[in-house]
Symmetry: C2
Subunit: 350 residues, 2 copies
């Protein structure tokens, strides 16, 4: 594990990202959307989708022509409840946020709207889209497909991506329930951390290259594959995301998805307008009661607290908003290189 | 385990159920719907939701006034994409099928439709509703909430039901992918089977009454509780179903849900019209390719075949359709009692 070499303030990190994106040819408004997305991921503690890990990949993909900095985002289908967007290979956070805003707008009058997206870059942290829906007092659902690394249950060849999905339930202005999970047991990056520490991984995480369950993280990294979470049930969900975010929307699926840090299969987002079912105040009252029932349950052996989905990330968000975002030595190199290449001062370390 | 004492033919079992329901005051059309539902569950091998386990509970609930045999099913909200039905405490399979048909009808023009249901009896096997959607070449989603028996992750008090959901993806006329799963590790009934055999249960299935993980099925049956499947990820899904099928639709939730074999919390069903996203033929071609990719993967250690979600149930369906439905000694008593009470000849045993 790398050393923490200081902290950056989120507004300074945002300004840095925004300037870099604008220098790559991304319009100001889009540069703001993608920069806010990356900084928000860091604030929530989801560093794997934050500035230090993704920025240099995103800008390098623009430079290589894989990502289009000025996409012509087209509405291929536009009915009241179901829409399809062609993202013209734009930056994922820009394309997917446009899809989310469309779903919310249509759900306001129609009650429900599903928007599919094809030809999009890496959409980042799915919670960003369900957070947007809950801000509008709607239930949000988002899912995305990615290159194969997860086996079907009983198989020994990667067929699915880690295929994450997110569900957001609004509660109040301060906190909402945000589910955001991969349908694999873990991300590959987490296993790399075990390998670097020389620790064993649990037996239900991965197979080696021969399809044999392994507790050796290096056996996974050497051509191994991930297992879906929760056995055949997680496999069903992994497969469902592959269809919803990929095949339904006409995006590439399984091994047709190009590999890369800035690419994605497809994306799907849904907004459900609570007011079309019952008054929001009644819904909210019941949600607060359910949360109270959950929180007041006695603890199981070995636990100190019962957390709601999204609560750890929200706590980290509040903490980092005040204290700043920690910076680690290894990923700081990525920032310095980008800063030098685009002649932008890196954010100040405190 | 009870002895198998013979088999019944599905059409004869259907006729028996239908006659019994009509004698309890259920109109002919509704009696046909609920009978077909129960027999279909037996055909798919889902005996826990079939005739022998549920019929006597359903008719007894009608007799006790818990279930209304002639409900006045009302459309509380009826917009194009979001609808709400008050089931007037009718038989669940009747109310939920009406909701499903409404979702499909609206999705035909609107692309997508979500229908919520409150005041409904036990809706039975969720796969029945997603099977209906896939027959219409639509993607179906259904979920239902039930009385508390599952703990929140880290808690030692039942807060959620086994909260199952189903997702159906059409493939072709012979077979579609049907996910149908509880969000608990297992059903309580399965642990009772372990207890009767004197076998231990896996350590991640249940807690004893003190909130301690147990491998003793009797410790679960003595005031214990179920764990969500797949740890905190399954907990997030269990909670999501509690909100979608309960709080969103204004149905009772958690400990407010009445206990019983014929009752339920709430129900939610969604239909997504594939044609609103892309031509069905293109979708189907990609689905067949994905299935080929899954099926042709090399096998992991210890597996003989890679199955698709719903494939075991579909195989059982084809087998039982031809060979008949096996009958076990213990549950046959339920049928004999109902036959006697309503003066209807029980189906013939072969």
């Amino acid at each position: 594990m790398a050393n923490c070499i200081g902290k950056v303030f989120p507004n300074e990190l945002f300004d840095f990202c925004k300037t870099v994106f604008e220098k790559t040819g991304v319009p100001k408004h889009d540069a703001e959307i993608v920069s806010e997305h990356l900084v928000r991921a860091n604030l929530r503690g989801v560093d794997s989708h934050g500035v230090f890990v993704r920025l240099h990949h995103y800008v390098s993909a623009i430079k290589q022509g894989i990502i289009n900095p000025r996409p012509n985002i087209k509405f291929v289908k536009d009915t009241s409840g179901a829409c399809l967007i062609d993202g013209d290979n734009g930056l994922g956070p820009v394309v997917a946020m446009k899809a989310t805003e469309l779903a919310i707008k249509k759900a306001r009058s129609n009650g429900v709207c599903v928007v599919g997206v094809k030809n999009t870059g890496h959409v980042g942290m799915l919670a960003r889209y369900t957070l947007k829906a809950v801000e509008e007092k709607m239930i949000g659902f988002a899912a995305t497909s990615s290159p194969p690394i997860v086996v079907p249950w009983g198989g020994a060849k990667p067929v699915f991506g880690t295929n994450p999905f997110s569900i957001g339930f609004p509660v109040d202005e301060n906190f909402s329930i945000i589910v955001d999970m991969a349908t694999s047991t873990v991300a590959a990056g987490k296993i790399a951390v075990y390998a670097s520490k020389g620790e064993k991984i649990p037996p239900d995480w991965a197979l080696d290259k021969n399809g044999k369950p392994t507790t050796d993280p290096k056996a996974f990294l050497d051509g191994g594959m991930l297992l879906p979470f929760g056995g055949y049930k997680g496999y069903s969900l992994c497969l469902s995301v592959e269809v919803l975010a990929g095949i339904l929307v006409g995006a590439p699926f399984s091994h047709h998805i190009p590999r890369g840090w800035a690419t994605q299969g497809g994306f799907v987002v849904e907004a459900v307008n609570i007011e079309h079912f019952r008054p929001y105040g009644e819904y909210r009252k019941d949600m607060l009661e359910l949360i109270e029932i959950i929180k007041s349950a006695p603890l199981a052996e070995g636990f100190k607290e019962i957390l709601l989905p999204g609560e750890p990330e929200h706590r980290e968000y509040l903490k980092r908003l005040q204290d700043g975002i920690p910076v680690y030595e290894d990923v700081w190199e990525n920032i310095k290189k980008v800063a030098e290449e685009y002649n932008v001062s890196p954010p100040k370390l405190y």
